[in-house]
Symmetry: C2
Subunit: 322 residues, 2 copies
């Protein structure tokens, strides 16, 4: 049995991680400010005596350090983030505070607690607009095209320096967009939300041709645990995503099919959905596959499972502006 401190443990991905850790018999402390996380995702976990939820913010170093020093985790699994990619330009400080300074706080709190293993949820967005597809971890030094990508790139850099400087074994995962149960932000959420309000039409940002890889959250969990079980040494970076990719148009076709509607589409045009959007994201996951991992769920299944989940859990749309 090991001890896992999970930042963002009440979120979409973090709560699945807590469940998986508990099912393996581990002890879990979820640390979450409940801003985008939701206790409902932890309904099962909260019944488990090996689980504890602490309401706290990664922007508060002392609170986080105190939690880590008392819990003494073997691993810090760092999911807490500002994941609101598109709104970076309207609120440029958020990405810095949550994803960069927040990640520094996580690294420092882990170090102070004597923990030597951090796993960090970074993003394929750190590749900006790469020229190589699928994009390997070792692609040319990328240019950051979004504040979100920049803030996660900075978080990676901090964890790398902490690995080298303090002898920690930190691991960075560069995620594609994740789909599946508890999914509560992103394009499938937005489209489903809007189509429930008005099933006759749908505004699509960009030209619908953006081509992106996704991954089912259960496949993500399998990948994370492959690496945790391997106890990697030093600083490691792994891409994680499906080999397949979907255009926005294809993804929409699955959504409307699940919703049994036929809306008209209004495209805003251009190859990017918004400033900083990457027109294409496909990651080369060879490194992770050498550990025996592969994605087992198709992207179509990922989108359809997500829409089904959202239909059955429409409370997630409450209070969210269309």
């Amino acid at each position: 049995m090991a001890k896992f401190l999970v930042t963002g443990g009440a979120g979409f991905i973090g709560s699945h991680f807590c469940d998986a850790a508990l099912s393996r018999g581990h002890q879990v402390l979820a640390y979450d400010n409940l801003e985008t996380g939701n206790k409902i995702f932890l309904t099962d976990a909260l019944k488990n005596s090996k689980f504890q939820l602490l309401e706290g913010d990664i922007r508060e170093l002392e609170q986080l350090s105190k939690a880590a020093q008392e819990f003494r985790p073997d691993w810090v699994i760092h999911f807490a983030a500002n994941a609101d990619v598109r709104q970076g330009l309207d609120r440029p400080r958020r990405d810095l505070d949550y994803n960069t300074t927040g990640t520094w706080n996580v690294a420092e709190a882990a170090r102070r607690s004597g923990c030597s293993r951090i796993l960090f949820s970074s993003t394929g967005s750190v590749y900006g607009e790469p020229k190589i597809f699928p994009t390997p971890e070792t692609c040319p030094f990328p240019e950051q095209t979004s504040l979100y990508g920049a803030s996660k790139c900075a978080g990676e850099a901090i964890l790398s320096a902490y690995s080298h400087g303090y002898g920690m074994n930190n691991t960075v995962f560069r995620f594609v967009s994740i789909l599946g149960p508890r999914y509560s932000h992103g394009h499938v959420f937005d489209f489903t939300h809007r189509l429930r309000q008005d099933p006759t039409q749908l505004k699509i940002l960009g030209n619908g041709k953006q081509l992106k890889s996704y991954l089912h959250v259960f496949d993500l969990m399998n990948g994370l645990w492959k690496v945790i079980d391997a106890e990697p040494k030093g600083f490691q970076v792994f891409n994680i995503g499906h080999d397949d990719a979907l255009t926005v148009d294809r993804s929409v076709s699955y959504i409307v099919d699940e919703l049994k509607i036929s809306p008209k589409y209004n495209y805003t045009g251009g190859e990017r959905g918004w400033i900083g959007d990457s027109p294409r994201i496909q990651l080369d996951c060879t490194k992770l596959k050498t550990l025996g991992w592969k994605a087992e769920r198709s992207l179509e299944q990922g989108v359809r499972d997500t829409v089904k989940y959202l239909k059955e859990n429409s409370f997630l749309f409450e209070g969210v502006p269309v």
Copy 2:
């Protein structure tokens, strides 16, 4: 005539930039907290009616924004930093506060003031321990081996995202170590300082074989102005350093020759001088050379000029612990 806001304008490199801008007839506002900067470096500048020094800290967003909004610069030249590379592990927050959050503050202050051009002094340390020498700007996505490198890498990422997000034309220079008049930290400073205290022996961190490129501050200035005059569009990255490189041993041989002493050397051993030290730094500066730049001063001249300057300005050693 253009208006230049120069952060760290009272520092070693920043003060040379102020002098160069004034000699070209530009208007200059130096913004410096005078923590490592020194008004003595601005003796000439302060006599010029087109020059103004504002004592302020880049960690203070509102103060910096107000200065930028009142001055309305055409360019923000961002030198202010924690340049104390070796002590990162003892004070891990400093690099984040000065070099990452500080750079975000500079980007945001520039944007609020309507300025669309930032030039940033980054470092060859962002390459960590590269496998390609000389290292081009487009080398494989590097791993950060020092908190200093990580914090500057993060600063670069922020400026890149600000370029893409807000239509700014930001330029990053990755500097090697700079030598020449007003040099007031780094290995030539440390060695000269210690040899003045005890000319009989010198402790050398590492095995003396670390191989690094340097650059004379006047050659640096020529490179910066080549790019400023070219008014680059979008986000640009330029390496800047001499093609030649010196081992620590070779550098020491010039220092002791200038000081006319023959100390015994005590090596601490190992290929790195300290944790996070890069055993080899040599940058491929082809991109900058295509603009017509080249280094005109040898590294030997750089080291010797630095020692001569330090001998004539020994006040710089006052209060600095050996």
